[in-house]
Symmetry: C2
Subunit: 427 residues, 2 copies
């Protein structure tokens, strides 16, 4: 496996992706089960390999946070196996008829869900991501080329081997490949005739580089500069609760809040208690001049409005109107998740309609923008693109469709020359 | 208008696209009507400008085919106005709820259709395309930057002016811009923070260049190398009729057939009558060695299998099995439109399932792959990409969606810490 060149691996993946088209959903469900059972049966080997990765990485001086993500143990295995079981229970999406129309007598058009083909997935050092991504590809009928973090090298190798072998009685050989070098990543980006979609996970900068370097479509998000707008009519209790949760429940994630916009008419009531709870929770506050007139906090600079802190820091701006809030969000936001806290439905609807972001919320935390929370099952990522998929993306993000037309000898000349005419009728 | 730099035009378009979000569908319907009436009222001026374009281009020695496409007359005006009327009757797609789910009590998620934002459209010399594209953008709530062929310069200018002015009482100013130079096209491709989607129409080479040069998503097709596979069980009458229509009804289009694959067991029966009708219609035939053993035609070379002739030429290959046909299509096809002619439903379903193309047809002409034929209304183009939209693309190709979540003070901590749990329920 490992002596093959990337291009041959990609060709084998393309071939497998075509062979998958002839299989039913039952074989994919059986493959998921076989993979899950094999992971459980061979957990000792996996943990051994992972231990070597963790020890080597610790010696190389990687951070504790990265070591925590790298570590793959019983708890993480249990969690990914639960995820696989959920995919086993999910009805197979391939072949589902999305729309159907009679064009004329005996001429029936169907739009049918199909896999995308070959997915290139590039992710960080979490070995559980490799399992999640590859089993999502099994469920959606896609072949996959995986590139994991070099820290997880041995774990990724054994996981890929187990998944490939366990699925081999159900899914055509060659559907899953692991690539290991940075050079292979650059090569992946150029294989636009073999790889249909890239799913990079990692830093914003990395995702942006992938988008720039490759002409293959990319499913991935850039920044998560999320806002909470506290309207004139905001409930004080809800405002405090939502701000604290959005900022401090977990700061290192893209759906955490970074900037608070406060209507001038509610700033004097809202800012003091918000300052209290945030500072008690250990959050640094940076405010605009008007904010500093109300609460004693250091001044924010222009660059604060464009910052994704991913840390216990928040910027606060007092603004004149909901229109100014929306304008600020369009100017400085990243189109990820923005929230209005308001007791006036009219203001809420204005915000939900006019803010041009993937996720627009009323009276709840920014932290709800998540595939599992939305009920999509496993999450591939959160897209801030408007093309193909937007917001939290579930297995549907790995699907395309084709048009099937079933006729009985029809030719276009009969319709163009008036002998027949279309009688479009949705079925 | 014309003295502005492209980047300022694009910024104005982005601003307008955000303002459009606050408007209802009625204003878009009224704008379409106003545009149609203005085009009719000012047709004299349009025809004058077009006459100057045609005369200048004729002097510059452009081909008759291009002059025919460039010419804009009463007949073409009538046709585009009919198209606009159809868009006026179409229900407004913006704000449509695509799915809705209760996540918990008082926490309702909605996925809602929204415009994409700013579309960059690059098209050839047909002035009617400018009208079709800009009115599609009105219906779908998008702003648009148009680049037309230089031959149609005067016609495009007056059309853009009329459309901008007639729509100005209903749609925010700045939603439509015409750019005129090749340099502007290069600049368009780099504006990835302002332009959300590129829709290039033109030669395959041009579309491929756009895809390569820009990190903006591109909606467009590459080649149209369409196949007809005549199965072992093909009806002779249907085969003859479908081959003739697919190849000769109109050759210069992407959904015309280029290669015929004939099962070895039916080749002796099918090839002689097919040769007769194709040659009578003026079609040149190039065949593989086994074809030449049955009918007297010149030998095809390897490059014939990869050629989009767009002309009265067809290549024919005799193959051993349906599997070989599918393999040939995957090797040489462009994923556009492929047809099986067969009286066996099992073979047809195998073909429709396993051929990895945007359009897969049974017993009908390749020429049916078309947005109007499919009942999509106006067609933006035919996509051979698997991302966002595939096959004929209607107004839906210009739409995205957003997630709206309406809560009553919910925070994620309550769910993560077990005080509450999600009760996902589709509405």
């Amino acid at each position: 496996m490992r002596t093959m060149h990337l291009i041959d691996q990609a060709k084998a993946a393309k071939k497998a992706s075509r062979e998958i088209l002839s299989q039913g959903g039952k074989s994919r469900t059986a493959a998921l089960r076989d993979v899950r059972l094999a992971l459980e049966a061979l957990s000792g080997e996996i943990f051994e390999a992972n231990k070597r990765d963790v020890e080597r990485s610790a010696k190389e001086g990687v951070s504790d946070a990265l070591l925590a993500r790298l570590k793959f143990d019983e708890v993480k295995l249990l969690r990914v196996c639960e995820g696989i079981e959920a995919l086993e229970r999910k009805s197979d999406p391939i072949g589902r008829v999305l729309e159907q129309r009679s064009l004329d007598e005996g001429l029936i058009l169907s739009r049918v869900a199909v896999p995308i083909g070959v997915i290139g997935m590039i992710f960080e050092s979490r070995p559980d991501a490799l399992i999640q991504m590859s089993t999502l590809c099994i469920r959606s009928g896609n072949a996959v080329i995986l590139k994991g973090g070099s820290e997880a090298l041995e774990t990724n190798r054994i996981l890929t081997r187990i998944i490939a072998e366990a699925s081999s009685t159900q899914i055509p050989e060659g559907w899953i490949w692991l690539v290991e070098t940075r050079g292979d990543v650059d090569n992946m980006l150029s294989l636009n005739s073999l790889i249909d979609l890239l799913v990079p996970r990692g830093s914003n900068k990395f995702v942006a580089t992938v988008m720039k370097k490759s002409s293959i479509p990319v499913l991935g998000h850039a920044d998560g500069i999320c806002h909470i707008y506290l309207d004139e009519s905001a409930s004080v209790a809800k405002a405090i609760q939502i701000v604290l949760d959005s900022k401090m429940q977990y700061q290192a994630v893209c759906n955490a809040a970074e900037t608070l916009l406060v209507h001038q008419n509610s700033a004097e009531i809202l800012l003091p208690p918000i300052q209290d709870v945030l500072q008690s929770a250990g959050c640094e506050i940076r405010g605009c001049a008007r904010t500093s007139n109300i609460i004693d906090v250091p001044q924010a600079t222009e660059s604060d409005w464009d910052s994704e802190y991913l840390d216990a820091i928040i910027s606060i701006k007092v603004i004149d109107s909901i229109e100014e809030a929306i304008e600020h969000i369009h100017m400085h936001g990243s189109g990820h998740t923005d929230v209005i806290v308001s007791e006036e439905d009219q203001a809420a609807e204005t915000f939900l309609t006019q803010v041009d972001s993937a996720n627009v919320f009323h009276n709840c935390s920014t932290r709800f923008s998540d595939g599992f929370v939305f009920g999509l099952g496993a999450e591939i990522g959160i897209s801030t693109s408007k093309i193909h998929a937007r917001g939290p993306v579930g297995v549907e993000g790995l699907l395309s469709y084709k048009w099937q037309l079933r006729g009985s000898g029809q030719i276009i000349a009969d319709y163009n020359e008036g002998r027949k005419s279309f009688t479009h009728r949705d079925l």
